[in-house]
Assembly symmetry: C2
Homo-oligomer: 486 residues x 2
């Protein structure tokens, strides 16, 4: 018996029967009552504060619309890439049962969205299912580090004859991705010789970069990351969609959810736009000194959405300079937790520690599977379901936090499916962009990681970085013995 | 070929040849140079500040020694539980090849240590290896949530005939563990009938609690969680050791590492005790407003050590009251990151965001596997190894953080093996206890989660909580329509 997988399929079919697009489905909603003064006293927000922010939000909306028209916010076009989606589907339909394994090679924005979609919409032990249970779809792996034991370990479990590699890099030059790719390509060549291109898919820029240049032609196929879609906003581009389609996720439904949320988020009025409201609340909370944003899904499937969100929020909003060039060193710190699991780990701190946090629950109204707790020894749990226990704990945690004056809010999914997950992803992307406008920073760049990259190039002997290397060596030679090591 | 697994075994054998105990092995060290004023300016610590703290540390040491003598800090005895370890080994040797699956049912302290040890010391895709590659050892699962899709999904991949369940709960009454246990026990009964006790192991208090009472006698075997060992300090007790032994981890080597670190941490002098020094630095940094403690392993294997540490640090140190009963709402927030992966996710924030963090690297001097990057297209990476790339990125990140006046420090493991991981675990436990003394709080309790538990009991209809339930219902009835949902 395969509980989850069957149910996920059935659900997807039900939605199709209802008309395919899924746009009549229930909406993801934001419940922020427990952030208000009425509930959490002076730790909370006054309604007037939200009203006062409304003009700033309207300005943010205008800026976002302007950037959209100027073709800067490419992620806002992704729900509408119908022909690209058809191409991905056709490709996946042709090959997903021909390969046992589909391996994404990528890091950061090229990996986190893939992982988030797999965890959210597939069986929790997907790679352990038999081929029959997976309906012949490929197992999915994401190689997102350059640890030799991790890469070596992956090679241990792959039959290279039956493996398709998707190397993803927007620039086409990412060191980590290329290092792993070279190792895996060599292993492929050793095993199957010249035909190894038939086992490689390239996902990169349309024209530029090392990958497109060297591997684009010889590969089985290639996909394009639009130039105006940043890595952390790329999950609904081919970056995330190809592996999703290979594991049988309904990517049209996913995009229909994003489309529905795009329509909702087209609204300048804060009280009608959950993405802007989420940003407004987080912005006000940040100004009150609550600089830590905990995202706590009450659903195992949504745990890696929280991880994907960490990149989106941290890399977009953690900035030294504002748009006027002033040093602001701004940025909320996203933290990932998991309900109910982390009630037994992080909750003590959230309840009693410093008043420096908001907690965002990802809440699921209805799970697709009920599991009744059978009777043993007349225990009080008998006859209840796991869902009841989970939902009771979620409610109890929210009530207890509120009683302790700890602001918390919920993003509520009616159910977990591709349509609601598409909505959630898009909502969080729009909230991030809006938050960038409120902070008056550039949410699309990441200047802070350049120095580290240059130092890595110097240490690895990349041409052009000889001077940096020399500086490093001189600095090290000048330093005495490290007395601060014990 | 099984890269990792073979090497891990070989390494363990080498250590045994050297004399078994492993106490001649290299030590885990703390490098905190990049926390000092010389390196990060006013964001750093003056050497005098450390000297000044030394008397406070000596006092902390006396308190710790007193508590140890008073039998309060039971985790400090765990490295010396030789007979218990022999019993666990004998049990695992008898059964680990007889069952295909070993399932831990537990949450919080009953789960995180198990997961951390498995990830640290086993193959990164351990459960995907064939039985032969696992040398017949069981696959390991940890069921640490009450999500119906997660529990249902686990049932999909277990052959119950071949599965041993280890239900772990210190109190013997944990709702989440029991709910899952009842479901799995019923599934077992339906499949194999009366013999189902032969598939159950109980790990709980020696005498007290529901589990001991009801399941202790019928089970295949049972293990004891000492009363003076709190859940979050229990990884080196039977809680973590049984699953470790079932997957072939050398638990004697693990404890020899803890023993070695116990000897080191027996030292009152801050400059000789890396645990106390770690606590001292974090304490000084907290006082400077750096209340976020990021732990960033540069090793895939150590990523769940960071997760285990999150519970240890957050639950021990996040407290409303100090020992004088004053409201302090104290507690650093632990954050988990992973190098190099999160350089492409969190690093931008750490480099440019608020100056409210320290970064602790878990650093590995030498990996047991080298993977050379082959030559393609004359790329600059050719001839380097993955280890070189990883270590260069780690160094570059540390240098760049330091240059940006962001304090960072490293816990350095000579290699990853049971002995060094045992050291690391014990060091972090001692640092946590010391930090509790410096904050003048009780690091061993968790009063903040009680309210949530009581509310859950009320919602689930547990006897004795009827009044709470009534209060809840009245409160809800009194509340008007929620206008803060969009």
């Amino acid at each position: 018996m395969v509980y989850f997988f069957e149910i996920a399929r059935k659900y997807s079919e039900i939605i199709k029967e209802r008309g395919g697009g899924g746009i009549t489905m229930d909406k993801v909603q934001l419940d922020f009552a427990n952030c208000m003064e009425e509930k959490v006293g002076k730790e909370g927000i006054k309604k007037e504060e939200l009203e006062k922010l409304n003009s700033l939000i309207k300005e943010a909306h205008q800026n976002i619309q302007k950037k959209k028209q100027d073709n800067i916010l490419g992620f806002m076009q992704l729900p509408y890439q119908k022909s690209e989606v058809q191409r991905i589907k056709a490709f996946a339909d042709e090959y997903r049962t021909k390969f046992d394994n589909f391996v994404v090679i990528g890091i950061g924005g090229s990996a986190l969205g893939n992982i988030a979609l797999q965890t959210a919409l597939n069986h929790p032990f997907y790679n352990l299912l038999s081929a029959g249970e997976r309906k012949g779809n490929s197992r999915i792996f994401v190689l997102d580090n350059v640890d030799p034991l991790f890469t070596g370990g992956l090679l241990d479990v792959l039959d290279l004859d039956k493996t398709l590699f998707n190397i993803i890099s927007k620039s086409g030059n990412t060191a980590e991705g290329l290092a792993n790719f070279f190792i895996l390509k060599k292993a492929l060549q050793d095993k199957i010789g010249d035909k190894c291109g038939r086992h490689i898919v390239v996902t990169t820029d349309k024209e530029k970069g090392f990958l497109r240049d060297k591997e684009g032609k010889g590969a089985l196929d290639s996909f394009v990351i639009p130039r105006n879609v940043g890595g952390r906003f790329s999950v609904l581009s081919p970056v995330g969609l190809v592996s999703a389609a290979f594991s049988g996720i309904d990517i049209e439904l996913l995009l229909s959810g994003a489309e529905e949320m795009d329509n909702i988020c087209n609204e300048a009025e804060i009280w009608k736009n959950p993405a802007y409201m989420y940003a407004a609340i987080q912005f006000l909370m940040y100004r009150k000194g609550k600089k830590i944003n905990v995202m706590m899904p009450y659903a195992h499937n949504l745990k890696d959405i929280a991880d994907w969100f960490r990149q989106l929020w941290a890399e977009s909003l953690g900035k030294k300079l504002n748009n006027k060039g002033e040093v602001v060193n701004v940025g909320p710190t996203p933290v990932k937790a998991l309900g109910v699991t982390d009630q037994h780990s992080q909750l003590q701190l959230y309840m009693e520690g410093p008043l420096d946090k908001t907690i965002t629950f990802l809440s699921v109204n209805k799970f697709d599977l009920q599991m009744e707790i059978p009777e043993f020894y007349d225990h009080y749990l008998k006859g209840h379901t796991l869902e009841e226990l989970l939902k009771s704990e979620e409610k109890a945690t929210s009530l207890a936090l509120t009683q302790n004056n700890r602001p918390n809010l919920s993003l509520v999914l009616p159910q977990i499916n591709a349509h609601t997950v598409g909505q959630l992803i898009y909502l969080l992307e729009m909230a991030t962009v809006c938050m960038g406008e409120l902070f008056d920073i550039d949410a699309l760049n990441q200047p802070g990681v350049e120095l580290g990259k240059e130092l890595t190039y110097a240490l690895m002997g990349k041409a052009g970085y000889e001077k940096r290397k020399e500086e490093l060596e001189q600095k090290e030679a000048a330093e005495g013995k490290n007395i601060y090591i014990i």
